[in-house]
């Protein structure tokens, strides 16, 4: 349900292409800038869609992905000043008198042909080691949740910019006009129960027209707000109502010739079709048992991470461009040892299942799956190392994410951090670089997907970002 050309500014185009606009808008819109250069997508596209598994609160890269066996020797010792280099840290630990190192609290094992080391808390992720590209050197300037999560989603720490999914809707539109092109799914983690809130700006369209914002699919009430007909009103009655509405609106259209009226008639028909296509989408009854088993026992609980992962696959199959999952609960300032296993248990099996499931269906080739938080966590403890309830503070100088499908190299471990998982030693990937690379795989030159607002051509990567060629085939 993406209508790049339906906002008032593009009325003219709609007039010309009313009959076929859903098929052509996407490209035409992108070509707003690209047309002069020859038309079509900027680049050959490796991927058509994205499933973004955002781990809100920021998982510990030290305990899960960035294996540093030598760090154990520093357990409990002060983090050397030469490592910290006086960099700014959050107000939650800046007053601490000591910064003792805590090495990974769980063991690591190697997986797949690539021998990718992963935490013992992620056994299922191990099964897809050869499908995922593990980046250990993502980095961000932000040190707090609000700015950091806003940054990774919109390319700016401050509010006001469109998010990744909105840019994609604007650029590429939808391939299924009976579903939104950009969907958001939210689940609550079982770890930190005083975890970070989410904000609608994270799936907001910023200065782009509101039709590009993400549509939240909910586990409570209607999956899409106001989707279902009211109690007492059958689909047949609704059809009759819409027929009359259409007839009356046609009369208005004939009298005033306002193209908006014709558009509105079309939108009501799409709404009616959505009322059928969404329930079909969320109906898991025809999923075979072995697929349900793959995702784990939680898959049948609406609103769980596993349920959302399965929905994400079904959405991708049906042409939804961008599926954004948020899983909360990763903010382990305290009680790391208790919370982290719970969070991993929430997401490990289903994330792995999603990749396997997409692969079995031949969808992984042109679907990008991203698993990322907004930053990482510190090598030093928050609290006292002698207190078993210690945690880790925020750390943006390096963190680990993985990407599968869409031409990203499976089995690759990219970049290297120092022995404390604190600073980057080799091959940094800034958030802007990461987003530029994701767009590249979708056939988009990040410098040319622009929108003119207040006299300036804005883009997701601001004035930064470069393709990280090593990540992709």
């Amino acid at each position: 349900m993406d209508f790049p050309l339906l906002h008032a500014g593009n009325r003219r185009v709609f007039l010309k292409g009313a009959a076929s606009f859903m098929g052509t808008t996407a490209l035409a819109s992108l070509m707003g800038r690209a047309a002069e250069a020859g038309g079509g997508l900027h680049l050959p596209a490796k991927a058509k869609r994205v499933i973004y598994l955002h781990q809100s609160g920021a998982p510990s890269h030290i305990d899960l992905f960035d294996h540093k066996p030598a760090m154990a020797a520093h357990q409990g010792k002060e983090l050397p000043a030469s490592v910290r280099m006086g960099q700014r840290i959050t107000g939650m630990t800046s007053g601490q008198s000591a910064f003792p190192v805590a090495s990974a609290q769980w063991g690591f094992a190697r997986h797949g042909k690539s021998g990718m080391p992963l935490s013992e808390l992620l056994p299922h992720t191990g099964k897809i080691a050869d499908d995922i590209c593990l980046i250990k050197t993502l980095n961000t300037e932000a040190i707090n949740h609000d700015p950091a999560i806003t940054f990774i989603q919109t390319g700016s720490q401050q509010p006001g910019r469109p998010c990744f999914g909105s840019w994609l809707s604007y650029g590429l539109g939808s391939t299924n006009e009976n579903l939104p092109s950009f969907v958001v799914l939210i689940s609550q983690g079982s770890g930190n129960r005083t975890d970070q809130p989410l904000f609608s700006r994270l799936w907001g369209a910023g200065f782009l027209p509101g039709s590009y914002q993400g549509v939240k699919f909910r586990s409570q009430g209607d999956p899409v707000l106001y989707l279902e007909n009211p109690a007492g009103l059958t689909r047949e009655a609704r059809r009759e109502q819409l027929d009359t509405l259409g007839e009356l609106n046609q009369l208005t259209s004939g009298a005033l010739h306002d193209p908006e009226t014709a558009t509105r008639i079309h939108q009501y028909e799409m709404a009616y079709r959505m009322q059928a296509s969404v329930p079909e989408l969320t109906d898991l009854s025809k999923e075979p048992q072995h697929v349900l088993d793959l995702y784990g026992p939680e898959v049948k609980t609406p609103g769980s991470y596993a349920y959302n992962c399965l929905l994400a696959r079904r959405m991708s199959e049906r042409g939804v461009r961008f599926v954004q999952l948020y899983h909360r609960g990763w903010d382990q300032h305290g009680d790391l040892k208790n919370h982290l296993p719970k969070q991993c248990h929430d997401v490990d099996q289903a994330s792995s299942a999603l990749v396997q499931d997409l692969k079995q269906r031949g969808l992984l080739e042109d679907t990008i799956v991203v698993f990322a938080g907004e930053f990482g966590r510190t090598a030093y403890v928050q609290g006292s190392i002698s207190n078993p309830g210690f945690g880790r503070d925020h750390h943006g100088r390096c963190f680990s994410v993985w990407v599968a499908g869409g031409g990203f190299k499976g089995g690759l471990v990219h970049g290297e951090t120092d022995e404390f998982c604190y600073n980057i030693v080799r091959d940094p990937v800034h958030v802007h670089d990461f987003n530029a690379t994701l767009l590249h795989q979708l056939g988009i030159d990040h410098e040319r997907l622009t929108y003119r607002f207040q006299g300036r051509d804005f883009r997701l990567t601001d004035i930064h970002g470069k393709l990280v060629g090593a990540l992709v085939g």
């Binding site: 008032a8 509101g210 899409v224 007909n229 009359t244 040319r448 003119r452």
Partner: protein, 944 residues
């Protein structure tokens, strides 16, 4: 000729506007190309300038430039391929022609002071389809002259019903009532329409409608926005905006008060409230965040908002470097920044609602109660009492000392005045003479004094103090009462034995001294001497009392301030404590230093700056004060090139759907050239010269023929001018989000027209807030739980809906309402299936349909009359034959359905809390509800 027109249209309608022989017009044709394609490397930003070449001013090699822009050599061609901004063929042609004609420059049009152009003559009999020219005012002369040039004609006047609907919705956000329609149709006077406009301009609904737009610009919301997004109270400011528009406050005054009302001489409460505009920015208190970083974010937001709202310019580029297109420097940005960087606010704040500085504003009820109580207390006092002189003996101060080094001076009235140095903490020790006899209580009066900051009574810069402990040597104080205590600093804390807490009184905001009474165990002063210690040892440093007087009483009844007077006092304090507050501006005595921040980073400080305005827009007069007063005066001065233009353009856009300058938020070099430049300037000058009379401007716009035309477009107009920039037909648009709601509530009769007050919580699907932010500790914060309003508050106008920034009201945002995190100058107008779902299925609209159904049923004896009545309520016009028959068919089918399924009918009409007339059978009401819902969904119902 035809070919030429089409070619030019490809660039955009603005270019069609005039054709001249002597090469392209620099402002209109050339600068946009240079700005868009060349200035980022060859423009005003010195740091990014390539090859030392500036194309934003003369002095370059024409032959070279001419050759480079057409070169086919990728190493030669300009702009270079790597910047990915190639010149289009037509742009090359424009530049070539410009260079061939001498490459002349002109100052950017929007930076020139507007001058009133001559109103053009329009040839009679040619301008309107099927009729003579209708030039009702200057607006039409400009619009018709422009159409005439194109060889086009305007339309005749819209039919009267559609016209009254259009102007009523545009001016008030609610539709005309049937009575208003009938009265208008019956009024045969030549000025019937003008009278209707005047009536509408006199309604409060007009003020609400105008406020709705201003709230977007001012980023008004009911929560702080960042992180936990807890609640705030800014509705007092919102109501001020409604009042300002309703009473037609001159716009320049409206602007000055919002920017600097607190600094005006003898600032009235209303003027201080106005400054809430500046404080509407988002606020953060995320644990671990760095205060300085967020203070910077607030100032940046204020500069950006200021620039967009008042200058129609985008300053945000200049946060990190000189502007690439406009003559705005990084220094300009931080000079504006410095004006705002002088509020005594904390970088991290807002966890308990409003963040300092705030103003307490009593409601009308509270004010009435206070007047009552004060009168009663006064009456009681004159009869003697705790506060009167009878029964109290002033303690005469003798030896005094101050641990903080203050000089304590006895005054003629036996009060003590503190002067000289002030320690971070202080303890005053006063030995005073008291009469013999058994003392039962001590009274402490705090007094104002001209030598104290803001007259005191405290020595803090805001006139406040914190008395951490009150002690009388050798005497136990048993109870304490005060005429007033600041929230969180109650009088009891001055006798709790804890130095960390204390009594405070909101400083000079109260413009008076306050008193405290301490009852004690009876004692006799040895040798007639009593030693009192006033301790100021709380963590709030530099907060000693500036002037005070002590007294004692032997009368137990007076001692603790007991008695009926005291009770009244307590209630008075209670009422005062319950005052709602609003965040406002305040000037620090010593503003923070402002630095240019490299790359905009808060912690990378460059050169220091002082408050100032962008040089390219005219400087400040000699001797202008270094605070916001100067900024406001400069902005509203007669020579300012932008404020009037930007404002009239925005008003134009409100009523005509698009600005004369389409980029309403960008009047800079990258902005679009006006469709009617002379008209824009004429309106700007006229607006300013009229004394910035907003209603007069609005009246001129909506009484013009250009506005009153029929909205029916010709195929030619749709093809060549799809945005109707030239106004060959009247304006038509979907209603703004809030008015979509108001309209449905109004036609059903559910609308509660109450004006102002705290924001309300109309029904919305449960769990929307919680799914984003639920935490175990949510109860600690405001604005975390959505509790739907009951009764009449559920039917208030959309602009009173509680606006949570991280989860704004979904039925409004679906219709393009912004989240209000930052300033929004223009809402997109989209059309989506989600909008259809809201209007069809949101219980708010279903309830409106059910109530409208009942209204229809009761409106006439037969179905046809009822259907016609409903149609007219919703569209303001009489239904045609085909319309009635289509609705009749629907009704018939629904009656059949619900008669056959009465249980379903019962379910459908259960929606909403509004009472229903049980005499109407369920099947009938349900069938009519479906019909009413159809009417509420009509394109015409949600359009003006």
């Amino acid at each position: 000729m035809r070919l030429r027109v089409l070619l030019i249209l490809a660039i955009g309608p603005a270019v069609v506007l005039r054709a001249r022989a002597a090469g392209p017009d620099f402002n209109r044709d050339v600068r946009p190309v240079l700005s868009d394609k060349c200035y980022s490397c060859h423009g005003p930003d010195e740091k990014k300038r390539e090859a030392k070449l500036r194309l934003d001013q003369p002095g370059w090699d024409a032959a070279e430039v001419k050759a480079r822009i057409v070169s086919t050599d990728p190493d030669e061609v300009m702009p270079p391929p790597k910047v990915k901004r190639p010149l289009a063929e037509k742009e090359v042609a424009v530049l070539q022609s410009w260079i061939a004609n001498g490459a002349g420059y002109a100052k950017h049009w929007a930076f020139e002071v507007p001058r009133r152009a001559a109103v053009p003559e329009v040839a009679a009999g040619s301008a309107v389809l099927g009729g003579g020219a209708v030039v009702r005012n200057a607006v039409d002369a400009f619009v018709l002259a422009r159409l005439e040039k194109e060889g086009w004609k305007a339309r005749g006047e819209a039919d009267r019903e559609r016209l009254l609907r259009r102007v009523t919705l545009d001016l008030t956000g609610v539709p005309p009532t049937v009575e208003e329609l009938d009265a208008f149709l019956a009024d045969g006077a030549g000025d019937a329409y003008e009278k209707a406009v005047d009536r509408l301009l006199g309604t409060t609904a007009y003020g609400e409608r105008m406020a709705q737009h201003w709230l977007d610009l001012a980023r008004y919301a009911d929560t702080h926005g960042y992180h936990l997004d807890s609640g705030r109270e800014m509705w007092i400011w919102r109501d001020w905006v409604i009042r300002a528009f309703s009473r037609n406050q001159p716009f320049d005054q409206f602007v000055r008060e919002q920017l600097s009302g607190d600094l005006m001489p003898k600032a009235a409460r209303e003027q201080v409230i106005a400054t809430g505009f500046v404080r509407n920015n988002m606020i953060n208190f995320e644990g671990g965040a760095i205060a300085e970083e967020y203070l910077n974010a607030y100032m940046v937001d204020r500069v950006n908002t200021f620039s967009t709202v008042f200058l129609g310019l985008t300053m945000n580029c200049a946060q990190c470097h000189d502007h690439k297109y406009d003559p705005l420097t990084m220094r300009d940005f931080y000079s504006l920044y410095a004006y705002f960087n002088a509020v005594p606010e904390r970088g991290l704040d807002g966890n308990r609602g409003n963040a300092e500085p705030v103003l307490s504003v009593p409601t009308a009820e509270q004010e009435a109660r206070i007047a009552e109580l004060e009168a009663e207390i006064k009456a009681a006092e004159s009869a003697g009492g705790a506060d009167g002189e009878r029964g109290w003996v002033v303690a005469v101060p003798g030896k005094m000392k101050s641990s903080g080094g203050a000089v304590l001076e006895r005054q003629a009235d036996q009060s003590v005045l503190a002067k000289g140095p002030q320690g971070a903490t202080d303890v005053y020790e006063v030995e005073c003479e008291v009469p013999a006899g058994e003392i039962r209580g001590i009274r402490l009066e705090t007094l104002t004094d001209a030598t104290l900051a803001g007259n005191g009574p405290g020595r803090a810069t805001n006139g406040n103090f914190v008395l951490s402990e009150m002690e009388v040597e050798g005497v136990k104080l048993t109870r304490a009462a005060a005429s007033y205590s600041q929230k969180g600093y109650e009088i009891g804390q001055a006798v709790d034995g804890k130095s960390g807490t204390g009594w405070a009184v909101d400083g000079n905001a109260r413009h008076a001294g306050d008193k405290a009474w301490f009852a004690c165990e009876p004692f006799r002063a040895a040798g007639g001497k009593m030693v009192v210690r006033l301790r100021f040892e709380s963590p709030v440093a530099l907060h000693a009392i500036g002037r005070f007087r002590l007294a004692v009483t032997m009368d137990a009844a007076l001692a603790g301030g007991q008695g009926s007077v005291d009770e009244k006092r307590r209630e008075l304090e209670q009422v005062r404590r319950g005052f709602p507050t609003v965040m406002v501006m305040q000037q620090m005595e010593k503003p923070r230093d402002t630095y240019m921040l490299e790359r905009g980073q808060y912690d990378v400080k460059g050169e220091k700056t002082v408050p100032g305005v962008p040089a390219a827009l005219g400087g400040l007069p000699e001797g202008a004060p270094g605070d916001r007063r100067a900024l406001a005066a400069w902005l509203t001065g007669a020579e300012h090139p932008l404020l009037a233009r930007v404002t009239v353009n925005r008003m134009w856009s409100m009523f005509f759907g698009r600005g004369l300058v389409k980029t309403v938020n960008d009047f800079g070099l990258q902005g679009e050239y006006p469709s009617h430049p002379e008209l824009l300037d004429w309106l700007a000058v006229d607006f300013r010269e009229s004394g910035w009379d907003v209603k007069r401007l609005v009246r001129m716009l909506v009484t013009s023929h250009s506005y009153r035309q029929s909205a029916a477009a010709t195929p030619e107009a749709l093809e060549k001018d799809p945005e109707n920039r030239l106004l060959s037909h009247g304006p038509r648009h979907r209603l703004a989000a809030e008015f979509v709601r108001d309209n449905a509530l109004a036609v059903s009769g559910l609308l509660n027209a109450k004006v102002g007050g705290p924001s309300v919580f109309p029904p919305q699907p449960p769990g929307l807030w919680e799914e984003l932010s639920k935490r175990e500790d949510s109860g600690n914060w405001t604005g975390q739980v959505y509790t739907p309003s009951k009764g009449a508050d559920a039917y208030r106008r959309g602009l009173y809906t509680f606006w949570k920034r991280t989860c704004p009201p979904p039925s409004l945002t679906t219709f393009d309402a912004p989240d209000r995190e930052i300033c929004t100058a223009e809402r997109a107008v989209t059309s989506t299936p989600l909008q259809a779902l809201v209007l069809l299925n949101d219980p708010v609209y279903l309830e409106a349909a059910r109530v409208l159904a009942e209204r229809m049923i009761k409106s006439g004896a037969d179905d046809k009359a009822r259907l016609a009545a409903g149609f007219r309520l919703c569209t303001s016009r009489r239904a045609g034959e085909r319309e009635v028959s289509a609705l009749g068919g629907l009704l018939e089918r629904q009656v059949a359905r619900f008669r056959a399924a009465p249980g379903e009918a019962e379910k459908l009409i259960l929606v909403g809390e509004a009472a229903r007339d049980e005499k109407i059978p369920a099947w009938e009401l349900a069938a009519w509800t479906v019909v009413a819902s159809t009417l509420l969904n009509l394109d015409e119902t949600i359009s003006n």
